[in-house]
């Protein structure tokens, strides 16, 4: 089959001789992929910041399609079902899954020792997300094996278009989790760093949780414009204003009640500090650049909550621990617990409450995969998300 593979730092290749996936476990299903989206966290892999990548790895983790084969223990799904699949591979049976912390699943990662060495324990697996997260093939392919299919695949309601359902795989539940576990309450003012798909979904979710105002930051005007137009958030270009002072001014001097970071380990900042940290990161003196996390901690109101949605892998320097402690903040983070949220989110998408259809700004064939990532990475042509149709447009209708 055809698939888009990582072949080295900043190198992608469309390969035509990838072996078709097969049922290996009794809870597996095989999915014919209709649509598969790029994600900002893919860029960390492509740039070489995520360890444990190997030449030839199939990437991609946000996807939907049709089930074409099921293992003998799959009960919920049958051949022909149109489903969206959570990017996080979770068993549904361990203590963490039973307590709806699916991305902490004990059994979804087949290479536990790697992350145990890095983080002290191992989280769940993730499709196409390095061997540290299980080494599962990604979704930028014609077919993909779906382990624990009853737990991680969800039937798409009639009337929800493929393109809208696609983002229930990863960006919508990630954003929703930021608002939910960030504890957004009616009347809150919520600040969101990053106006990509996850940031937009976090802002949309905050409104649905009753936030009175959402203020979002980015440095690209087209993303800010999308956030303003589709989600209704107030927006700030952090290269054109002092975000901290602006947030103070807009929140009566208090700071936002909940601050959601949706940027990750390659964040940017105005001024020389960015270049300084970029050099350190490239020399591997520090692994992650946490500009947005620092800003969120500094901006958050006393006693407020900072939720880290962006992906981080290792160590950061100059973490403002003093501000965190003395302001009495709560800080949380997680890979998304999508299995907990996807059914509700599909309902909300069906009702038009959660707006996802506009996120797919560029749709293309898998052959154009490298070009799709170039547009996405360089923020060219107004690209918010490139979406691939590995089996052609017909299957994605």
């Amino acid at each position: 089959m055809k698939a888009l593979c990582w072949t080295g730092v900043n190198e992608l290749s469309v390969e035509n001789d990838i072996p078709d996936p097969r049922i290996q476990n009794r809870h597996d299903a095989i999915l014919k992929v209709h649509l598969s989206s790029v994600c900002g966290s893919d860029l960390h892999q492509i740039s070489g910041y995520i360890p444990a990548m190997r030449e030839g790895d199939v990437i991609g983790h946000e996807f939907m399609g049709t089930i074409v084969e099921t293992g003998p223990d799959v009960q919920k799904h049958k051949v022909g079902d149109r489903v969206v699949v959570c990017s996080v591979i979770a068993c549904g049976s361990c203590w963490f899954c039973e307590h709806q912390m699916y991305s902490c699943c004990d059994n979804g990662n087949t290479n536990p020792a790697i992350t145990e060495a890095m983080w002290g324990t191992h989280p769940a697996g993730i499709f196409g997300y390095s061997h540290a997260m299980g080494g599962f093939k990604g979704s930028h392919a014609e077919y993909v094996r779906v382990p624990y299919a009853d737990t991680i695949a969800f039937a798409i309601p009639d009337g929800v278009e493929d393109e809208a359902a696609l983002f229930a795989s990863d960006s919508a539940p990630t954003g929703w989790m930021g608002a939910d576990l960030g504890g957004v309450q009616p009347g809150d003012i919520v600040a969101v760093w990053g106006c990509g798909a996850v940031g937009q979904m976090a802002a949309n979710s905050a409104f649905l949780k009753g936030a009175e105002r959402v203020i979002a930051m980015d440095r690209f005007d087209y993303r800010l414009e999308m956030m303003e137009r589709h989600i209704g958030a107030e927006v700030l270009n952090y290269e054109q204003t002092d975000v901290d002072l602006e947030l103070k001014e807009r929140t009566g001097g208090r700071g936002p009640d909940v601050c959601i970071e949706a940027v990750g380990l390659e964040s940017h900042a105005p001024g020389p500090q960015y270049r300084y940290e970029q050099v350190k990161q490239q020399l591997r003196i520090e692994t992650d650049r946490p500009h947005a996390v620092r800003d969120a901690i500094m901006a958050c109101r006393k006693g407020g909550t900072v939720f880290v949605l962006g992906v981080f892998v290792g160590m950061v320097d100059k973490f403002p621990l003093g501000a965190f402690m003395n302001k009495g903040l709560t800080m949380r983070g997680a890979q998304q617990h999508g299995e907990r949220y996807i059914p509700e989110l599909l309902d909300r998408i069906a009702k038009g409450e959660l707006k996802t259809g506009h996120l797919a700004t560029h749709r293309m064939s898998l052959d154009d995969g490298p070009k799709g990532y170039e547009l996405f990475k360089n923020k060219e042509d107004g690209c918010l998300r490139s979406v691939f149709a590995p089996n052609g447009a017909a299957s994605a209708a």
């Binding site: 593979c5 996936p21 030839g56 536990p112 060495a117 080494g135």
Partner: protein
Amino acid sequence: MDPTNLMLNGLTRGGDIIESTVRKIAGTATTRARTDRWNVVTVNRPPQEVMPDGRLPGPLAEMASEIEVQVRPAPADKGSELAARITRPSDGGEQVPGGKHTGDQRERLRTALRHAKMILETGEVLESDKPSTTRTTITNLPLELALRRAQGTGRL
């Protein structure tokens, strides 16, 4: 495992992290390990399902002559703690001063514990995708070696 052991395990963990990091840097991550350390997993099942009538879960049963196994309820609603330690070093387990031995047997034990937990909780051992699409390169060699032992090493 008695409470003293548990406390000692906790107290020595900080030192273990430093020691294991040094060993990883030195490339000898699992060559030596204390023979008397318990390796433990928490299984989301009651003790009577983990070891019915005292029978060892399948993967551990294969090591029955080499190990001691205990099961007890985990706190709150967390199921059972399944603990195992090596009591008879295998032929390949070289005895060295300080009660240490080579790591192959420990790797088999960790793998057996992980697999036992997975089987008890999900009914099967999850496999990684096969055949792999990845290619062996010189720069990937260390990772490839680590992946071959990714069930048997780690902090368990």
